[in-house]
């Protein structure tokens, strides 16, 4: 990538205070996002993947400034939006839009479709009522909904249709970046790909950059230019999409990739199994956060936190002390899977 990133996040953290008992105020913090850095380039899709509870949704909401960042920088088009006051922030909001996970929750149940889709124009433009109505119809057509549903309420639509409304609202003001927070995981499998395709088509048409959050790699696989894997508030690996699938560097990414269901039933046997629970982000394990579940963990892993560093020439970042061993492990599995396939 040669162009300037449209979004550059540096060392972003988001901590939530967790109040202890009322008597002894030993407040602990939940480090939902713990020092995340990432870049998104204009027009590309960055996928962010991780188990539920790893902080990816919090990351998305903090980047969109729906949450106040605890520390770190969010630079959007050269402007640090982490430090903006609420007025300046409101002015920049149309350029960063958000598609929520649950289309049942993210549309006001008391507003009609036309009221929902008019809102962006009411807030940010001086358009007359007629012009707004026209815009709304355009939007509906763009996301593939009939224009005769203007006076319906959200509950009269299916989940997929509602998500289309949510997408229409997000693209209303021609944003540069759309953050998609698991936009299909609440939907029926049958409509998931429709929504993903709609997002891709809109991205092409409008030159959107997408930050696409998902909890499994299979959704992200088809659409992402680059993928970041998140574990317990940290990014453990970032790379160009295909490279990640071919040769995941981090042991955790290897598990995730291995868990993708294969179309070929002969390959469907799982070779790797992730043991143990996701540790609590209130008290994450010392050293490498993954050491409680990592088959390669050694003493060093428990003491020293690995840094996210470049592992090869083409921007393949991973955070692990034992990349060599990890790659060997992957090669073994890869070889065995090829044998299985034969």
């Amino acid at each position: 990538m040669t162009s300037q990133p449209i979004l550059e996040v540096t060392d972003l953290t988001k901590h939530f205070p967790v109040s202890g008992s009322a008597l002894f105020k030993n407040k602990s913090v939940l480090k939902a996002v713990d020092g995340v850095s990432l870049k998104v380039y204009p027009g590309e899709t960055l996928g962010i993947v991780g188990e539920s509870g790893c902080g990816k949704s919090t990351l998305a909401k903090t980047i969109a400034r729906l949450y106040e960042p605890s520390s770190g920088k969010i630079v959007f088009k050269g402007q640090d939006i982490g430090a903006l006051n609420s007025k300046a922030l409101r002015a920049i909001r149309p350029k960063i839009q958000y598609v929520f996970q649950d289309p049942y929750e993210s549309l006001n149940p008391r507003h009609t479709v036309s009221a929902i889709l008019e809102e962006p124009f009411v807030i940010h433009t001086q358009l007359s009522a007629n012009e707004r109505a026209e815009k709304v119809c355009e939007l509906l057509t763009k996301v593939g909904l009939p224009t005769n549903c203007l006076n319906k309420y959200p509950h009269e639509f299916s989940g997929g249709q509602r998500q289309r409304i949510g997408i229409a609202r997000a693209i209303a003001l021609n944003p540069d970046l759309v953050i998609c927070d698991e936009p299909v995981s609440a939907l029926d499998v049958s409509v998931q790909s429709q929504i993903v395709n709609l997002l891709l088509a809109l991205q092409k048409e409008m030159g959107l950059a997408l930050l696409f959050i998902a909890h499994d790699l299979s959704v992200v696989k088809h659409i992402s230019d680059r993928v970041s894997v998140m574990y317990l508030g940290k990014i453990v690996e970032t790379s160009e999409g295909q490279a990640l699938y071919k040769q995941p560097h981090h042991p955790y990414s290897q598990f995730l990739i291995d868990a993708i269901p294969k179309p070929d039933p002969r390959q469907s046997k799982k070779r790797m199994r992730l043991t143990g629970e996701l540790p609590s982000p209130i008290a994450p394990p010392a050293g490498c956060h993954f050491h409680t579940r990592c088959p390669l963990a050694q003493k060093k892993c428990k003491e020293e936190q690995p840094k996210l560093v470049n592992q090869s020439s083409n921007d393949h970042l991973a955070a692990c002390h034992f990349i060599e061993e990890s790659l060997n492990q992957w090669d073994k599995i890869w070889a065995s899977s090829k044998e299985n396939a034969r």
Partner: protein, 349 residues
């Protein structure tokens, strides 16, 4: 735009299907309308007088002095006497149309040679008798009902407006603002309202408005907790975040998104607040700290009745009216609550 959401319609259907509450609502509405039109059917002014070819409608407006009808006094015409007079004149063209109950609530109707109270009788027209100073009880009950219901609706409007505003602001802004008002509310809730009113009543004579505002000033707190929680919850929901992501300002989020979604349930409290208002006014009147005499009042009637237990019709009328109205309103309240949350209150089925 969101005139009648399907959910509202469903609730209305459910409300209608709960017969007891539905008919109580109809009955109470009729009672309110009748009481608001009380001048037209309980009054010592005539509805209509025909005198020497001219028509008079004395019900509303200034008093018509006796001279209007060539009587020898300047004060307000006694229409009941006028009616008797016209009747006694043979083949006269003049007539008086009196309301159904030809007494005014503040009027002392003395029967010669007898001391009030007079017991109920069809002949005298005092269907529920009179009180200790000869005022028609039925008239006082209806006019008293009007004052009580208007009083409690005014009271609850003020308490709701303050309560909703403070509660919503607490839930929305949170933090120090929230903490500050929590303490204020705790202090206010512990003030014994009766003493305050007794003190105030000994300094000024409370009228309708001062009494209502005074009561409201100490009873808006109940609503705030509810609104605070509700606002807090709605504020965290994603459709509000979506509005925020669009760059909506505080007032837009508050008035277009949060309030419409949190306020509808307040309807369920409405009837119970009405009951509370009526009870509060009645008890204050009973103790003599309420509205100044001779305002028609159930509390005052009850007080007369309990001090003169031998005249059963006085206390019986007050108790009867109070129980009928409070029961009706409570039935309405139960039905509304049930209509809003059929899962929680299913004892009707």
């Amino acid at each position: 735009m969101s005139s009648f959401s399907p959910q509202a319609l469903r609730r209305w259907q459910r409300f209608k299907s709960i017969k007891r509450g539905y008919y109580s609502a109809i009955a109470i509405s009729i009672l309110i309308v009748l009481s608001l039109l009380a001048e037209l059917w309980i009054n010592n002014r005539a509805l209509m007088v025909k005198y020497e070819g001219a028509y008079y409608f004395p019900t509303y407006g200034d008093i018509l002095p006796g001279e209007t009808f060539d009587l020898d006094y300047k004060w307000e015409t006694n229409y009941r006497a006028l009616k008797r007079q016209f009747k006694s004149e043979p083949n006269s063209e003049n007539w008086v149309l009196m309301p159904l109950i030809p007494f005014s609530p503040n009027e002392n109707d003395f029967i010669e040679g007898e001391y009030p109270p007079y017991e109920p009788s069809l002949a005298s027209g005092h269907y529920l008798g009179t009180d200790m100073s000869g005022r028609d009880i039925f008239a006082r009950i209806i006019y008293g009902f009007r004052i009580a219901i208007v009083f409690s609706i005014f009271l609850l409007s003020v308490t709701y407006i303050i309560g909703i505003a403070v509660g919503a602001a607490m839930g929305y802004f949170g933090g120090a603002f929230d903490l500050f008002f929590q303490r204020i509310i705790e202090i206010l809730s512990n003030v014994p309202i009766l003493y305050i009113i007794m003190i105030v009543a000994s300094i000024i004579t409370p009228n309708f408005w001062t009494l209502a505002l005074l009561l409201a000033g100490f009873s808006w707190m109940g609503m705030t907790w509810y609104m605070r929680t509700e606002t807090y919850r709605e504020n965290a929901r994603e459709y509000v975040q979506a509005a925020r992501a669009l760059g909506a300002g505080h007032s837009r989020i508050m008035f277009l998104h949060i309030l419409p979604n949190s306020i509808s349930i307040l309807v369920t409290f409405f009837p119970f607040s009405v009951v509370g208002g009526i009870t509060a006014l009645t008890s204050l009147d009973y103790l003599g700290f309420g509205l100044p005499p001779p305002t028609p009042s159930w509390g005052e009637l009850l007080q007369q009745g309990t001090t003169n237990l031998e005249f059963q019709w006085i206390w019986a009328s007050a108790v009867g009216a109070l129980s009928v109205v409070l029961t009706l309103v409570t039935f309405v309240g139960e039905a509304i609550r049930e209509a809003f949350d059929p899962k929680k209150y299913t004892f009707y089925e």
